[in-house]
């Protein structure tokens, strides 16, 4: 009885978790091996990149700009009484570049592009389109999955850089025009602590996040079972797993890249 309960509520979930993780890793490995085997479908890569860029840009801008504003207000709340207003922009830019723009961009990409990929691939699986491609001697991983991998791998950093500029613009507008911070102080403060290393780190992070979104949502979509309900579940799972994964991963990446010993 007790053993049965342990089996059902502890052993099985843990087993299932590692089973799933293993499958995801194998799926990613298979895709990456196939990446270096011709043919590469250029047209698909372009359409997918275009799709990701056009659908994600507005959500990214709409989330990152307000966050820039908020950061400016809260930073000023602390720094103004201390009389170090000019440090405000240095602080905001560090948080924005190192953390918030990669994280927020990837969350929006997971929510927008990730779910749509999972749902799209899932529908294709349910309608046997993937099998049909298989029978027509076109590897569906090469035709469907790899273009999506590449699209996310390229678009994620680009959108992150855009998000960084938008976020800083947001905080500039609030601090200079609303809070009355000196324009010159804000602009010089930007370069006090920021280094190229930070920008590189942010781009590296966002590449990793892009791959995480690609692997998880494509995996979830590609192996859908259970009809229309299964497609819905896959899209839902994809976004939740993506966001949890890279918020956890974010901690580890940050500690590797920026921890001060």
């Amino acid at each position: 009885m007790v053993l049965g309960m342990i089996d059902k509520y502890v052993v099985q979930p843990v087993y299932n978790f590692f089973d799933e993780v293993g499958r995801i890793v194998l799926f990613a490995m298979e895709a990456i091996t196939l990446l270096f085997r011709p043919p590469l479908f250029w047209r698909e890569i372009l359409t997918e990149s275009h799709h990701v860029a056009t659908t994600c840009i507005i959500p990214v801008v709409c989330t990152v700009a307000p966050i820039g504003c908020i950061l400016a207000i809260q930073a000023l709340n602390i720094l103004r009484p201390l009389g170090v207003e000019k440090l405000m922009s240095s602080m905001v830019v560090i948080i924005m570049v190192r953390e918030l723009s990669p994280a927020m961009t990837s969350i929006m990409i997971a929510a927008q592009a990730g779910t749509s990929m999972a749902a799209e691939l899932g529908t294709m699986r349910v309608k046997e389109e993937i099998e049909a491609q298989d029978v027509m001697a076109v590897n569906p991983i090469q035709y469907l999955v790899i273009p999506r991998f590449i699209a996310l791998f390229i678009m994620c950093p680009i959108l992150t850089v855009i998000a960084f500029f938008v976020g800083m613009a947001g905080s500039y507008v609030i601090s200079v025009y609303v809070e009355g911070v000196n324009k010159g102080a804000f602009l010089t403060g930007l370069w006090t602590y920021l280094e190229m290393y930070d920008v590189g780190g942010a781009i590296f992070k966002s590449c990793v996040f892009g791959l995480v979104v690609a692997v998880i949502s494509c995996y979830k979509g590609f192996y859908v079972t259970g009809g229309a309900a299964g497609v819905g579940r896959a899209a839902n799972d994809a976004v939740v797993i993506c966001i949890t994964t890279f918020l956890i991963l974010n901690y580890f990446l940050t500690s590797i890249l920026w921890i001060t010993m």
């Binding site: 046997e128 099998e131 029978v135």
Partner: protein
């Protein structure tokens, strides 16, 4: 475990070929596909049980059977997209059961398949669907691919104004035709049809049958066809295989199936026996029919599909 095996196979990638003795025997007897002891179960449900079959080169074989009798799984196993638990499948020199994915793709260059639900790509037009395999394999120029696809679509009865419609805007019968067209456009030596006319009304059914008959006569390809329509099987096939509970219980020419003593086969064909004379008489009478078709153009009206498509 199966999943890991598959991945391992992918990385190892050793090609698996039909044993030479078997291949020699197959060549001598003109056998294209040999299936032995094929078994597949999903969960506790056994779908295919020890199925043996030889398919001869250039013949048309109809597989008849109930829904859920394992016909589709059998066809998918031949194409290598379903992985049976045990058994042997040899298609020419390829050992399908043990072939790594790379070899399967090579083997599939020699066959094509029409899926039960059509499996048309929803996001592109009918014409693009049909030319897809030609474009992907890049055996011909894109322009020629389009021409060939358009020509085939016209030959199955889709007028050029329908070529650029999305599959979802076409009626059920039209979708079947597009799917059929995609299966034949490359003129493969082995074509698998999964229920080419299921769920269509008798007239549409007859139209598809005539189409298949034409394909059979023109192509000289090996056709394997799943169907639950007796008349299709009688009209088209060189041999009929009756599949029951994952096994082939009877296989032979249409005539021998009609007079079979096997209880299941008898039950299967009984319904039609009574009415067959009348049907044949009417068919004969109308064969020489000449006149105008009565058509009020409702197939062109798209809104009708939405208002009459079931409830």
């Amino acid at each position: 475990m199966g999943f890991l095996d598959q991945i391992a196979k992918q990385f190892r990638g050793e090609y698996a070929y039909t044993p030479e003795l078997v291949l020699k025997e197959m060549r001598e007897k003109g056998i294209k596909i040999r299936v032995r002891g094929l078994t597949k179960s999903f969960g506790g449900l056994t779908v295919l049980k020890d199925l043996d079959l030889d398919v001869y080169d250039g013949e048309t074989l109809c597989m008849l059977g109930e829904s859920a009798s394992g016909k589709t799984v059998f066809l998918k196993s031949l194409a290598g997209i379903e992985h049976p638990d045990s058994g042997e499948i040899y298609i020419d020199e390829h050992d399908v059961m043990n072939a790594p994915p790379r070899q399967l793709y090579e083997m599939r260059l020699g066959l094509s398949m029409q899926f039960q639900q059509g499996a048309l790509f929803e996001s592109v037009s009918a014409l693009e669907n049909v030319q897809w395999p030609l474009v992907m394999h890049a055996t011909v120029s894109p322009q020629e691919a389009e021409d060939r696809a358009a020509k085939d679509l016209v030959s199955v009865g889709l007028t050029p104004d329908m070529h650029w419609k999305l599959p979802s805007l076409l009626s059920g019968g039209m979708q079947k035709r597009v799917a059929l067209c995609r299966a034949i456009v490359e003129r493969k030596a082995l074509i698998l049809f999964d229920e080419p006319n299921a769920g269509l009304d008798p007239i549409k059914c007859a139209a598809i049958d005539n189409l298949l008959l034409r394909i059979k006569k023109q192509f000289k390809a090996t056709l394997i066809m799943n169907t639950s329509e007796l008349f299709t099987a009688y009209n088209l096939s060189d041999r009929i295989g009756i599949i029951y509970r994952g096994k082939i219980v009877e296989i032979g020419e249409p005539g021998s199936i009609k007079s079979s003593k096997h209880p299941y086969v008898d039950e299967f064909t009984r319904k039609s026996k009574e009415f067959l004379p009348q049907i044949l008489a009417y068919q004969e009478e109308l064969a020489s029919w000449e006149g105008e078709k009565v058509d009020d153009g409702r197939r062109d009206s798209e809104h009708l599909g939405k208002t009459t498509g079931g409830f």
